[in-house]
């Protein structure tokens, strides 16, 4: 077991493509760290640099107390589960799981013992003598994991390991991976483009975009305090609603105004204080972010901080409903508990309440206030 | 040097060594040889250290040598006799085998097998079958044709080359057939069902669906066939040794003395420089023919 420390790591490919910019991160010993981001954001490249499958253009990577920049993958004592599992098609499950130990000259009996143990843990001990093509997708996935855990490596890496499974199996395997981490307590680095997977599995999440770290934090932190508009939009389903607006601070009140709404909060709201600190009294070009779960239908009652809208479509997700609406300030989605479903219909005009304690404001560069 | 470069070249080393010595270097070395002549004093098996510079003399001699040009004509005739017939025959066999028939794999094997047998042995057997009182002559005598009786098929200037060509077409047809068959089997049956719905006839289906897919194979076979004709040697060595004799532009020539065999003959006469120079003529000829093949098939569609 070991920590992984990356400092100022860069990756520039031979063709000039700058895949990873100034990546600095400390993964603690035993931590479950998830790299998440859209495809091409550099998350896989970063992990492959840790594994030694890609060279590092500059910066250092440290596993435990060793700088591993120039150490080949086979000597880094890391294990990896690949997206396509990368099982050796010509070997049985047993041989697949044994190979790494055999290459490290572990005694035969010891290999047999460890393989059997891992197979029991993963519930694949009855398929040990089959070849990968005779296995189901879920079993192959387990073999890939099994191949990694027999080695008791310092760090486990997972490269989108669940993306080839059907949705139901994916949920099951997610739970099993989480359990596995709790049993093994080994450092794990996990790459995915699925933010739900990231949220459910991670101790901490690294959100990446265009080769740069956008935010590092616990799932709750990245959800409730997104550092920028990208993170805010990437984490959460349905994604956060954005409205462009102008900000006016006067007489102890902050107004967030656009054509369709005029929300306001008073002096004791954190927004007010932050704007005051930065000396902003009136400016435009802001983006207001409100998550669908922080909006609700007003049921006819008129009140403060409301926005008028027309119901377009409803997506019943049982038990909740995603209601798609359109307003003068643009389209948005809200997430309702579903009880109101019979009350509204498409085309209906409604008023929507906004939970002002859970709003996010982003400046022109998209940085959270 | 980078570690990857070093390891890559260490993997390539055995191959590149042999390739360099026995394939790349000879192309250049051959030019040197072609500019030299063997002298009378040279040792038969160490000739190359003791050759005399001759400039372009070998090339000039070849240029003025009727026998050489005749050998090129034989090569072209051999191409005309073997390539189109070979392609046509293998295409027919493939179309026949591409239907629902029993024993398809047996037929395929039977047609393909001669292709991998030893050229010398096949040539020898055919020589025997073609000889006077051989299998074919006996057959023709039985039905009252004695035209081939005196010389056999290979001794007659009119039949010698076609006889060799037929033997080789039969030997080689299986190769083209397998290629065509693979391509035909790759066509999705849905296309034919759609064609049936559109009311295409058997010929239209072949013309518009199958033929376009077979074209690259025709090109491939034309090029490999050309190469085979330019390198043709063994079948001529074993079957005719260049005979029978005839005259061409007032010179005595061997009717089946194809360039490959003629080159070998010069080689056995220890005219190494001459043979090397001739092989360059052959090379240029190969480039021209390949280019024509390529252009011709391209223009056709």
């Amino acid at each position: 077991m070991a920590s992984v420390i990356l400092s100022h790591v860069e990756k520039i490919y031979d063709n000039g493509f700058h895949a990873v910019h100034d990546f600095t991160l400390e993964v603690q010993d035993g931590e479950f760290m998830v790299f998440v981001g859209p495809s091409g954001c550099g998350k896989s490249t970063t992990m492959r640099m840790i594994a030694g499958l890609e060279s590092i253009s500059s910066g250092t990577i440290q596993i435990g107390d060793r700088i591993v920049n120039r150490i080949p993958p086979k000597d880094r004592n890391v294990a990896m589960v690949f997206q396509d599992y990368a099982l050796y098609p010509h070997m049985t499950v047993r041989e697949n799981m044994s190979l790494s130990l055999k290459l490290r000259k572990v005694p035969k009996q010891e290999i047999e013992k460890r393989v059997l143990h891992a197979a029991k843990v993963l519930d694949i001990d009855h398929v040990l003598d089959r070849k990968p093509k005779e296995l189901s997708g879920g079993q192959r996935q387990r073999v890939a994991v099994g191949r990694a855990i027999v080695r008791t490596p310092d760090v486990f890496m997972f490269d989108e390991p669940l993306s080839n499974l059907d949705p139901k199996l994916r949920t099951t395997m997610r739970v099993e991976l989480k359990k596995l981490h709790l049993t093994l307590k080994t450092t794990m680095i996990y790459v995915t483009h699925d933010q739900l997977e990231a949220m459910t599995l991670a101790d901490r999440i690294v959100v990446m975009n265009q080769g740069r770290i956008q935010q590092v934090g616990t799932p709750l932190e990245v959800y409730s305090k997104p550092a920028n508009k990208f993170v805010a939009g990437f984490i959460g389903t349905p994604p956060m609603n954005f409205f462009s607006c102008e900000v006016i601070r006067e007489n102890g009140t902050v107004h967030l105004k656009s054509d369709g709404f005029d929300f306001h909060v008073n002096r004791d709201h954190p927004l007010y204080q932050k704007l005051q600190e930065r000396g902003i009294s009136a400016s435009s070009g802001w983006t207001l972010g409100i998550r669908p779960e922080h909006m609700e239908l007003a049921r006819g009652k008129a009140g403060e901080n409301q926005i008028q809208a027309i119901v377009e479509v409803m997506e019943p997700m049982a038990p909740e409903v995603f209601v798609h609406l359109t307003s003068e300030s643009g389209e948005f989605v809200l997430r309702d508990d579903g009880l109101l479903k019979p009350v509204i219909r498409p085309g209906q005009k409604v008023k929507v309440n906004v939970d002002m304690d859970n709003i996010h404001l982003f400046d022109e560069e998209g940085i959270a206030l | 040097m980078k570690r990857e470069t070093l390891s890559a070249y260490s993997y390539l080393l055995p191959f590149l060594t042999v390739f360099g010595i026995f394939l790349a270097f000879p192309v250049v070395y051959s030019i040197w040889i072609s500019l030299h002549k063997v002298t009378l004093t040279t040792n038969l098996y160490h000739v190359f250290s003791d050759m005399k510079f001759a400039g372009l003399a070998n090339y000039k001699e070849i240029w003025n040598n009727v026998e050489f040009w005749w050998s090129l004509i034989v090569t072209i005739l051999y191409m005309i006799l073997t390539i189109p017939t070979g392609i046509f025959l293998s295409m027919i066999l493939a179309v026949l085998l591409n239907q629902k028939i029993k024993w398809a794999s047996f037929f395929q094997s039977a047609y393909f097998l001669p292709n991998i047998l030893d050229m010398l042995v096949i040539g020898l057997i055919w020589k025997f079958m073609y000889s006077p009182d051989g299998l074919f002559d006996t057959f023709f005598m039985k039905i009252g044709i004695d035209f081939f009786h005196e010389t056999g098929f290979l001794g007659n200037p009119w039949t010698a080359l076609p006889a060799i060509a037929m033997a080789m077409v039969l030997k080689g047809a299986g190769f083209g057939m397998v290629l065509f068959l693979t391509a035909l089997k790759n066509i999705s049956p849905n296309i034919f069902e759609a064609a049936d719905l559109d009311g295409l006839t058997w010929w239209q289906k072949f013309r518009y669906i199958q033929a376009p897919l077979l074209k690259p194979i025709v090109l491939f076979l034309a090029i490999t066939g050309t190469m085979a004709c330019l390198n043709a040697f063994t079948e001529f060595y074993i079957m005719t040794e260049g005979r029978p004799i005839s005259t061409f532009l007032g010179e005595t020539v061997g009717v089946t003395k194809i360039t490959g065999y003629y080159l070998f003959e010069k080689f056995t006469q220890i005219k190494y420089g001459y043979a090397a120079a001739m092989s360059y003529f052959l090379f240029v000829f190969a480039l021209i023919i390949s280019y024509i093949n390529y252009r011709w098939l391209r223009e056709k569609g």
């Binding site: 396509d84 790494s100 191949r147 | 001669p114 299998l135 290629l179 360039t259």
Partner: protein
Amino acid sequence: MMRLQMKKGMLYAALIAFALFSLMPLFFMVLTAMKQEGMAMKMQFIPDGPLETLYTFKNFTEVLFNKDFPFFKFFLNSVIVAGLTALLSTFICLLAGYAFARKNFPLKNFLFSILLSAMMVPGMIFMVPQFAIITNFGWMDTLAALVIPHTANIFGVFLLRQSIEKIPNSLFEAAEVDGAGDWQLMRYVVIPLVSPILLTLILLTFLGQWSNFLWQLIVNTPSSDWLTLPVGLALFKGQYSIAWEKMMAAACYSVFPVVILFIFLQKYIISGLTQGGVKE
């Protein structure tokens, strides 16, 4: 219905006729090889009296241990030459194909195009200079002369490069993370996964060299210890041009191994040959 039946009948007739025609030389060879001395030139295949008046097996044993033309030795030489070339060449091509498929190195594309264009050079070009090199090496009448020049098989490099490239990259990476070095990647990933191609290549090279007459003829003097089957046969024909039954018996020793290989391994032979064509 009747028309369909007739069409089928004609189809089978054509197929069978051509099969007979295609295999006729082989039948003819075997029957002639079993003729009694002096009976070969008589195109008679059904004996007038008992079978032994026309047929015998003694030609097969006689050519095998003939004093001047010991075909048993020629056969062994051919097996050694073709077998050794096949194994050595496939191994060399595997290494080169691996480098082309998996490694980056300077001049890679240049080298590759050199190989491509070398395939277009007519083989006759190589005869004189290759012979010159062999004599300069003092390799006349040696096994090396018969084997080494044919171990650089460009087609083999292409074929192996192509099939190694088809192996998913993640398999190599998994093996690397599992602790495999370069040689172990070769042993545990490459060789098992391209073994059908290796077998194909071994077979094709073997068959090619089994019947490579011209080269074997020119690097052997008539007194060489390394005369091969085709060369032996050609020399035998020069000496006894009318002993057809003996010649055909000797020819059988060239044909039978190929037929046996073909019967059991034709899948590999055909797939290898077609890959060369489909690549175009």
